[in-house]
Symmetry: C2
Subunit: 246 residues, 2 copies
C-alpha cells in the first residue's frame, strides 16, 4: 500500500484550497460508482476495472486519488457513515437536553439511532439507499481491514448510546445491556442490508419499493420491547428453561 506517494510531491505547503475543477468530480464519480457496485457484488468480487468503467474514468484514477482499493472502500463508507453517526449523536444530545433531568425513553434512544439511517434511506437523489445496504453487508464482511475500520468508526457512537441506554434502563445489568445493544445494532444492519433477502421470509408486495420506513416502524417497537424485557434469572423458579434439553 503506497499511500504516501499518491501525489507526486506531497509538499505540505499547498493545501487543496477548494478546487472546483475535475478533481472533485472524478473522485465523486468513482465514489458513486464504487458505492453501487460494492453493494451489488461485494468488496472482493468488484474489480477496479468495473468501477472505473462505470464511472467513466481511467483505471489508474483510483490508485491516484485514493491510494488503493481498500482505501477506496473506506472512503465510500466514510463519506456517509461519518455524517450519519454524527447525526445520531447530535440527535441523542437533543433528546437529552429536551428531557432535562428525566431519563430518556427507549423510544427516544432508538429514534436517535434510526432517524439518521432513515434520512439516508429516504435520500433518493444521492444513493443513500444503496449505501445502507452496502453498510449492512460490510458488517458481515470477514475482511479484517473492514472490521477494524468499522469498529473504529462506531466506537464513539456506541459508547454514547450504551450510556444512554444504561441511563434509561438502570435496572438492567451493564453486561446484559451491552448484549441487547448489540442485538439492536445487528437487527438494524441486517434489516437494512437484506432488501432481497426479505423476499425469503416476508412475502413482498410487488411494486412497493419505498418501504424502508415501514420496516423500521415495525422493527423499532419490536426492539424496544426486547430492550425493556425483564432480565432472566437462569434458575429462578417459574422462569422458562430455555435450552434445558439441548
Amino acid at each position: 500500500m503506497a499511500s504516501s506517494t499518491i501525489q507526486r510531491i506531497p509538499r505540505a505547503s499547498d493545501i487543496p484550497v477548494d478546487r472546483p475543477s475535475e478533481i472533485v468530480d472524478t473522485k465523486s464519480k468513482i465514489l458513486d460508482a464504487a458505492e453501487e457496485l460494492f453493494m451489488e457484488h461485494g468488496f472482493e468480487a468488484t474489480s477496479l476495472r468495473l468501477i472505473t468503467t462505470a464511472a467513466g474514468v481511467n483505471l489508474a484514477a483510483v490508485n491516484y486519488h485514493f491510494g488503493s482499493k481498500e482505501e477506496l472502500f473506506q472512503a465510500v463508507l466514510t463519506r456517509r457513515l461519518d455524517p450519519m453517526n454524527q447525526d445520531r449523536m447530535r440527535l441523542l444530545s437533543l433528546y437529552e437536553s429536551a428531557a432535562g433531568n428525566t431519563p430518556l425513553t427507549c423510544e427516544n434512544i432508538i429514534s436517535a439511532m434510526f432517524i439518521p439511517a432513515l434520512k439516508l434511506a429516504r435520500d433518493h437523489q444521492t444513493g443513500g439507499k444503496n449505501f445502507l445496504r452496502l453498510l449492512g453487508r460490510a458488517y458481515a464482511d470477514p475482511a479484517p481491514f473492514i472490521r477494524e475500520f468499522l469498529s473504529s468508526q462506531y466506537a464513539e457512537m456506541i459508547t454514547r448510546f450504551r450510556a444512554a441506554f444504561s441511563h434509561a434502563l438502570p435496572h438492567i445489568p451493564r453486561e446484559e445491556l451491552s448484549w441487547r445493544l448489540h442485538f439492536v445494532m445487528g437487527a438494524l444492519s441486517y434489516t437494512l442490508a437484506g432488501t432481497d433477502a426479505l423476499k425469503m421470509i416476508a412475502q413482498f408486495q410487488p411494486g412497493e419499493a419505498d418501504n424502508d420506513e415501514k420496516v423500521l416502524r415495525r422493527l423499532a417497537p419490536f426492539l424496544a420491547a426486547g430492550l425493556r424485557s425483564p432480565v432472566e434469572n437462569d434458575n429462578a423458579p417459574g422462569s422458562h428453561q430455555w435450552f434445558a434439553e439441548a
Copy 2:
C-alpha cells in the same frame, strides 16, 4: 459449469455402494478445509489453491468431486444446514404433539429454532462453530447463487415456523408476524456470525471462548419479548410517534 462431466463415465448402472476408501476421505478433507477458510475469508477471497493446500489434496480434486467452486460452497452449507433445519422442524413437531390442542408458547418455538443451532455450536469435535459463523456471513453475501441457494434451503422451515408463530400469536396480523420472524432470523444469524464483531459492542472477557450458549440465552428472551409486543397503531392516541421529525 460442466457439472455433468465430473466422473469420466456417468453410467447409471453402478451406484457408489458405500465406498469406504479414500473417496469419502478426500471429499471430507476438502469440505472441512473449505468450511474453515470460507468462514475466515469469505467466498470470493478464498481460492481453491488455498483450500486444497490446507486439505492436503490436489488442486483438481475440487472440480472432480464437486464440479465447481460454487458447488463446493453449496456442499459445505448443505452438509450441516440441511440436518439442522430438519432438527428444527422435528423439534417443533415434538413440541406441538406434546402440547396437544393448546397453542405453543413463543419460548417453545424459539427453542425449536435455537436448540439445533446451539447443538451445532457445542459440537467441538466437528467444526460446527465455524459453520455457524460461515452461515451468518452467507446470509449477507451479495452473490446471487448464495442467496438463491439459501432461500431454497430455508423455504420449508420458514413456512413451518411462520405457521407455528401464527398459531401462538393469533392477535398479531399475518404481515406483521412475517416481519417479526424476519427480525428473529436476522438477529440470530447476525449474532452467530459476529464472533469478532462482538468485541466492538460487548466487551469480551478474554479466555471465555465458549459463550455461544450464554449469548443465545440472552438473545432468546430478548426476541420473545419483541415477538409478543403489542402491534403499533400508527395514529392511535398515546402511541409513540416513532419517526415524526424524520
